[in-house]
Symmetry: D2
Subunit: 367 residues, 4 copies
């Protein structure tokens, strides 16, 4: 209950600090029979690895994952899957200062308020390295979704004032942009903007958008177990996220019902479809079969190299200048984290929803 | 797991349909010794009751709550508190049409996709009457927060393009506005706007803001159990919510780190404070002692009286015109629902957090 | 978390005190499409109703159940099912004494130690009336099991030294015995024994046995989620149970491996069977397709009419003589409670187990 | 939900197979500030290590534990504690036969029935090595209990027909007996009995007793969350356990109320005490301050070296003779596993119970 366990049926338990022995995750509730190799997971981890572009921390980590349990002869066995990444590039001395004061925008003060003290090296458990467990587990969830024909993709939608144009969002361009912005024209402009802010020893915020396609209709529970509530809550748990919206999102505030309702129609394949998708693929908390579209707002990295005012642990006002290795922008490395949270949520909700109809359960237990 | 149970320690289980015998909630995990009477709960229910202004459905419900268990000689006993409100004003015939088709923007289609059929009377379990259980449980949570000196207030921040001015938001004005907009000048303009849309048989969206004051620092768990993630997920579970943000929210996308960081300083009372509150009272998922400020975007009521295109259950394209009794705007009755969700979340997280330090546990179990 | 919520997927939340407005349960996680009427539940409640024989409390309660939600046109809808039984025969004055002292063998002292005070009327939440919620929910679970071809029956195996003979246990005799002992010869002897103890103002203990037949193999999770662990824990939660065993049970202590191992063989229908069933239908925590056989030991009713020594709330040694209406033997009314706990456990574990194989999940989500 | 996660507040997630890379556990919900070193855990692991006496498998494992996270400068930080033991002595070829058939008394058949296949090496996840995760986590729970003055001890009470005499049970003798029987006279007799059965290539069953002292009154929740129910369920989850009883246990079946009721009296220190402890320290599911006494019946090891009849995976009746390294008796190595399960349960229930009274919560959140 200390917060590092997620999921009701597909349950994960992440662990590890920035400057401890390593980071990892245990997955309990993965079905048997899914082909799984370390490369499947490594591919996802490589996308969040630091040091890949000039816009991310130069900390170099191999971030090599090991599967310690739950896989036999290349397939999941249905028992817990333990995944571990060892920490290798720890420069704890960069952080010796931090022990004594509270960095603005960070969790130093609140960890102290909660626990009485903290592992200050690199932010300890509140470090971005905590997301390795999420991404590794998300990679396994993605293998399940692959089997079911569900596909998830996330990208940087906006950096500062630069927003990808809807008609220019091409998934194949995401990896071509160092900022993971699929509108390459906008990406170039955003790079220039970001470079300027980096020179000013500042950081920038933005928005990540995530699209989940191939969803069946009928996933999600009414009331508190709504699919959008689960997605929103889980995505909100990623560090630096300050807002989450689905479909038309906050824009609904200025819309009328006649503008915002998505009319149903019969598609030529005999299925029920919507003319528009302002709902973002979820109605009444249950998937409607359309793409799920969700966005998360990321604050600018709080670790900036300018001088800042704050207080120390002795209760004195001081001025500090942060050192160390920090990303000036979070989104490019966060897109894979958002994909992971989406995958974890969808798998868990799919599994929770498997008992909605008695006739399906009867079919299931025919053994 | 079908979605109507909420909370890890302070656990509620809501039940009831729009046109069944009634609606209610069972609360398990309420501490013993809290003074509780039906009036405490009724006061909250009255604030969400229909038929109070011309901007809400004319359905008249007494919405009288009964305490069925868990209270003895005026105080909670620590055992489950069962609360029930009987339905009295059911005009099911208004809904006989709905059985046969899928209303745009509603959960009719997705319930059918999930369960194979649905209780179509008044939306069944996806009706707004479902929120009575939330509000009743929230009233009990509020009694706990009162004991701890924590105060929650919500109000309509925005309707269509009309946004309350920061310096005009006066809590004492909330109840003076039929729209629950504490900036009475803006409220009057919004009323005019809303009346215009009602004449066009249309509905409007908006934003509710919620402020939680009196919080101790140190509440919330790292990683998945973050306080903001819990608040966001739970508030997102309220029907018609399409986005949630905290503190500076989506505006962080266009801010830089130097603009967005809240600098700490020592207050004259010897406590650590922040110069600004862009964080919205939560850092790293843990409360920092400042006010928690959270906003939810509500879509316009999907039940509008204009003709709309949709499909029927036989898979034919049809045109419909919805009858019945519907609110043209959701926020005025939703503010108390948002307060309830905030109260339920804060109490649960306070309770979860009670094991963070061994020395506190030792003090606790001195009996 | 205060203890009245049970189940991971098929989740129930019971409420109510002996002398409050009523008792009830909310079931969340029941699949849609199951025929359900109040009579289905009433049949089970009638089996635990007081006042049916001379061996049960003369308190007369109709114990009539009402379905308040979750059923539409005679079938479950997949949303929460709220069930309520109103209390009608409350003679609280019988209990005014109890307020001031701690009855031996009862929870009076421990409730005070936990909560600081208690609802002393009829034992409040620790009363046997609490089991109405269990039985009502169990009746719904039984409807699900019926659909799947799983059958549960419990009976009194032993009272005092009188034990039913294996070859005389005939299910059709259970209801013929006022003590629910299917060996009618032994039942008659036990009645005589019990009558003797009643004259001495004493009470007697015994054992209930429960048989679950029609189980598929493969239900239950490894390690902590073992099917036998779940059954044992849930059955142990019934008041007055002091021991639970499965299959050969405590007798294994004196057996050797060669005596206790159940050899497998191929049955003529091509399935794997066991020559014996010392395991009690569960191997490694997972059902093996054989009958599950579980037994619970019940202590003698602690409410006896003899003089007893105890202490009062002022901390003085006193002598008391309990009044009121009390069963001199618990098992006859408890058999249906044990069946209910077994049914609730089996349904929950069946549902939890629905994600064990990816190929089954693929079949499931073909919509 | 696949079964390897335990606890509501003090939550553990175990992983690992007999012949995989290792075994381990992640603990989430441990308070900050508890001194913890690898030696604290190693001491417990050494007690379950194989190869220590002639009555345990000669498999030699160092079973050295590593703390991978959650500890900083010698104290727990409140964040997840990841513990790992690498497997070193794997002789998988011993098990190549097992792949093709189902051992009597083992989980081979049920794992296949559940998952469609299994990791057959050494029993995979159903191996006794799975208990390393339990014991490691239990060692951490024990550190918490030490701080609170609660002490847990378990020992072998019975092997075959040899039962320790009450007045000879001396805790200081437990480690002097290779069978962990504190009555050394009985232990010697049991050794002789066991040696005889080993010569016959057979195995023996028995009973472990566990005593929890120093408990405060008031721990445990009513109804489903009873402390005895939690202890029973969790202890039942240990492999080979076929029965659990508390206090007088199954003997209550032949007792009367006047014999079985524990009368209260005022002790000279002004506290409420019981004249006897047939209840086993728990009344109405809540601790009464007395010692908690619980017993578990263990079946004889199913791996015996005699010829046995069974079936193979092709559905043929066959005869087998098991090879490999197996304990002829489970209890001596299981006592520390039972202690671990007791410690994990008590800590979790203590933490769950911390919200039972509002005045205590007010004291707690004074920061």
């Amino acid at each position: 209950m200390a917060g590092s366990v997620l999921g009701e049926v597909f349950k994960i338990s992440t662990w590890g600090e920035s400057h401890g022995a390593g980071v990892g995750v245990v997955i309990d509730g993965c079905p048997a029979g899914i082909p799984l190799a370390e490369e499947d997971i490594q591919a996802f981890l490589n996308r969040r690895k630091p040091g890949e572009t000039r816009y991310s921390t130069p900390r170099k980590e191999g971030d090599l994952v090991q599967i310690l349990s739950g896989v036999f002869e290349g397939k999941t066995t249905g028992t817990p899957i333990s995944l571990m990444v060892q920490n290798t590039s720890q420069r704890s001395k960069d952080y010796s200062d931090i022990a004594g004061y509270y960095r603005p925008g960070h969790a130093d003060y609140t960890f102290d308020a909660k626990y009485g003290f903290r592992d200050y090296r690199g932010g300890g458990r509140s470090s971005g390295r905590e997301t390795i467990g999420r991404v590794a587990a998300g990679a396994v969830a993605n293998k399940i979704l692959e089997e079911l024909g569900i596909h998830i993709v996330a990208y940087t939608k906006q950096i500062g004032p630069f927003v990808c144009r809807e008609d220019q969002i091409k998934p194949e361009n995401i990896e071509k942009s160092p900022l993971k912005m699929p509108d390459l024209g906008i990406s170039a402009e955003a790079e220039e903007y970001l470079s300027g802010k980096m020179k000013e020893m500042d950081s920038v915020g933005g928005i990540v958008e995530c699209v989940i396609s191939g969803m069946p209709a009928g996933v999600g529970e009414p009331v508190f177990g709504k699919l959008d509530a689960a997605l929103a809550g889980n995505i909100f748990s990623v560090g630096a996220v300050k807002g989450v919206e689905i479909g038309a999102g906050f824009a609904v505030a200025e819309k009328t019902g006649s503008e915002n309702n998505d009319n149903f129609y019969m598609a030529s394949d005999g299925t029920v479809k919507k003319q528009t998708n302002f709902a973002g693929g979820i109605l009444g908390g249950i998937s409607d079969g359309d793409d799920i579209i969700i966005r998360a707002a990321f604050k600018p990295t709080p670790s900036i190299f300018q001088k800042q005012k704050t207080v120390n642990c002795q209760g004195e006002d001081i001025e500090i200048q942060i050192k160390g290795r920090h990303d000036p922008v979070i989104m490019p490395r966060a897109v894979v984290v958002i994909e992971a949270m989406a995958a974890l949520t969808i798998v868990d909700r799919l599994f929770v929803g498997m008992t909605s109809r008695i006739e399906r359960i009867k079919d299931f237990y025919d053994f």
